[in-house]
């Protein structure tokens, strides 16, 4: 069994670096899941291919989804992801310390994506389907929510979802990032380019306050 796999990886790719993607998942995961983000990042900066592979696997799905929420162009989002990761790799030795890889990648990605959208808009007179401000980061009831003990019935949950979707898009975005992406206020503030963490906290708080009438009934 083991031999077959080794032969396969040799045949698939003679280049060691890209063979990494096909490296047994378990190998990469065992090495890195136990490590803190800071350690994984340090390995990546030191040129460790497996560390990069781990970072890519772990975050590319979330980043892609995030990008698609902001701008519904699959091509542009993938293009932006590619450029971002290439830049990170090219400048890896010069990168600073990172505590939380996810938050850092979201921040860099958001910045790059906006630059790219601006550029595309200029060059192709507005063919990029950047969603209007009213029209992104919509919320839906998650499947897990059905599994836990119920204070709210299905009707109430539907109403809550509706109310959440009536909030300003930026509020929805911050709430999704806080609950679904599990980012901190500090990270959200950096991603949304607020100069103060307080702004992110207030944004969420004011949004939730508007839902209070529903909470109290339920």
């Amino acid at each position: 069994m083991k031999e077959t796999q080794n032969t396969q990886s040799n045949r698939i790719d003679s280049q060691e670096s890209s063979a990494m993607l096909y490296m047994q998942h378990s190998q990469v995961m065992i090495v890195y899941t136990e490590k803190s983000d800071r350690e994984v990042w340090a390995s990546f900066r030191g040129g460790d291919e497996a560390a990069f592979n781990y970072i890519y696997r772990k975050h590319v799905g979330d980043l892609y989804n995030y990008g698609m929420q902001v701008c519904h162009s699959d091509e542009l989002v993938r293009d932006c992801l590619q450029k971002m990761f290439i830049n990170l790799r090219k400048s890896q030795s010069r990168l600073g310390d990172v505590q939380r890889i996810k938050g850092y990648l979201f921040k860099v990605f958001q910045r790059d994506l906006f630059k790219l959208i601006k550029k595309e808009k200029k060059s192709k007179d507005n063919t990029v389907p950047l969603e209007s401000d009213q029209d992104y980061f919509f919320i839906e009831k998650s499947h897990e929510s059905k599994l836990i003990a119920e204070e709210f019935d299905a009707e109430m949950k539907a109403e809550l979802t509706k109310a959440l979707n009536k909030l300003a898009p930026k509020q929805r975005q911050a709430i999704i990032m806080l609950y679904q992406e599990e980012l901190s206020y500090k990270e959200i503030a950096e991603i949304m380019q607020f100069s103060q963490v307080k702004t992110a906290r207030t944004l969420v708080y004011r949004g939730l306050e508007k839902l209070k009438e529903i909470f109290d009934v339920g």
Binding site: M1, H25, S26, V60
Partner: protein, 358 residues
């Protein structure tokens, strides 16, 4: 959140136990330490909140409401990077950041061949499929041998069965499905030929992928009919599916839409009649404006017989009719009455004759 951050939050919170006493629901909802516990409960945080509830029993329902709201929030649409895009992107990143200024076209061809090779190897070697599909697996399953099973229905046979994950497959006649005995932890991959109706068990962490000759269908939990006989036809009943073609283009379908890709590569999305498309699995044999050849093909596949026609039908001949769980003779009776022909059944052969030739 990282352990470090977690510890900081915990110690800060423990140092200030009183802070939650006057919390209202919106305060819980915006408290990082509380959210952290809801999303990723740990031993220490569990202990903290259980103790807190014990000391503040009147606040329990507020806490529970806040918990539910936090769990409730999800993206309305979660966009997923296709497997192909996932691999291509990685290849591009690695190659382009290593070799500066190399020929772009050359690299892309190289990747294409590599991916083709991987697909080929993975699908031609039954036991090592985990190696390929295990990219995102959460557990160490790579060493485990995956046993592939296959079901084939000859003409005249239909079969309904359940996969390891609870997905129900209705397999039509002259069709086959290949599937692993147990699915990979990260994705559920099967292969099919012919026609089948799938009621895919929901599992958002493990997309369900159906490989056909030229297309890949990716879903999370939904029901649809897939027919791949010459044309590729996918009719979606519920949920959402994505179809990825050979060249990587992805088409998404909504409920009540049917995607048709014909052999020339023409693609269309239309509405459909559920009875016409799904009826077969409930034993409804449906003819709708069918040509003589279509009627013959359907009868052969449905009943597992050979039809020999000694008649020539006029151009423009068509037949419509519905039969629910009826034997061959009744179906032939129905068609022959409206079309004025006679028939003979001899074991597995049906002969269609003109009345005057008798």
């Amino acid at each position: 959140m990282s352990d470090e951050m977690n510890k900081k939050l915990l110690s800060r919170t423990l140092a200030n136990k009183m802070r939650y006493r006057d919390f209202d629901i919106e305060d819980f909802l915006s408290d990082e330490f509380f959210i952290q516990w809801v999303k990723n409960p740990g031993e220490e945080t569990n202990h903290f909140w259980m103790k807190w509830i014990e000391n503040n029993p009147d606040r329990k329902h507020i806490l529970q409401k806040a918990r539910e709201i936090i769990m409730l929030v999800d993206y309305r649409t979660r966009y997923e990077l296709s497997d192909q895009a996932y691999m291509d992107l990685y290849e591009n990143i690695v190659e382009k950041s290593n070799k500066v200024g190399s020929d772009r076209r050359h690299i892309q061809w190289g990747i294409w061949h590599k991916v083709a090779a991987i697909l080929f190897l993975a699908f031609s070697t039954v036991y090592s499929i985990n190696y390929f599909t295990g990219l995102d697996s959460k557990k160490d399953q790579a060493q485990q041998v995956t046993k592939w099973l296959s079901v084939y229905n000859p003409a005249g046979q239909k079969y309904r069965f359940k996969l390891d994950d609870g997905t129900i497959v209705h397999l039509n006649s002259e069709s086959s499905v290949e599937y692993p005995e147990t699915f990979d932890p990260s994705r559920r991959v099967i292969r099919m030929k012919g026609e089948a109706f799938f009621n895919v068990a929901k599992d958002k962490d493990r997309p369900f992928i159906i490989e056909t000759e030229n297309n890949q269908v990716k879903v999370i939990g939904t029901s649809f009919n897939l027919k791949n006989r010459g044309n590729f036809e996918l009719a979606l009943e519920e949920g959402k599916v994505e179809v990825e073609g050979e060249t990587g283009e992805i088409i998404s379908l909504l409920p009540n839409e049917m995607l048709i890709k014909n052999k020339n590569g023409d693609v269309s999305i239309t509405a459909y009649d559920p009875m016409e498309v799904f009826g077969w699995k409930e034993q409804h044999l449906i003819f709708k404006d069918d040509t003589f050849q279509e009627v013959v093909d359907k009868i052969e596949a449905w009943f597992g017989v050979k039809v020999i026609s000694k008649i020539t039908v006029e151009s423009g001949w068509s037949y419509s009719g519905k039969y629910h769980d009826k034997p061959l003779s009744q179906v032939l009776d129905g068609i022959s009455i409206s079309s004025e022909f006679e028939y003979k059944i001899e074991s597995k052969t049906v002969t269609i004759l003109n009345p005057q030739t008798k």
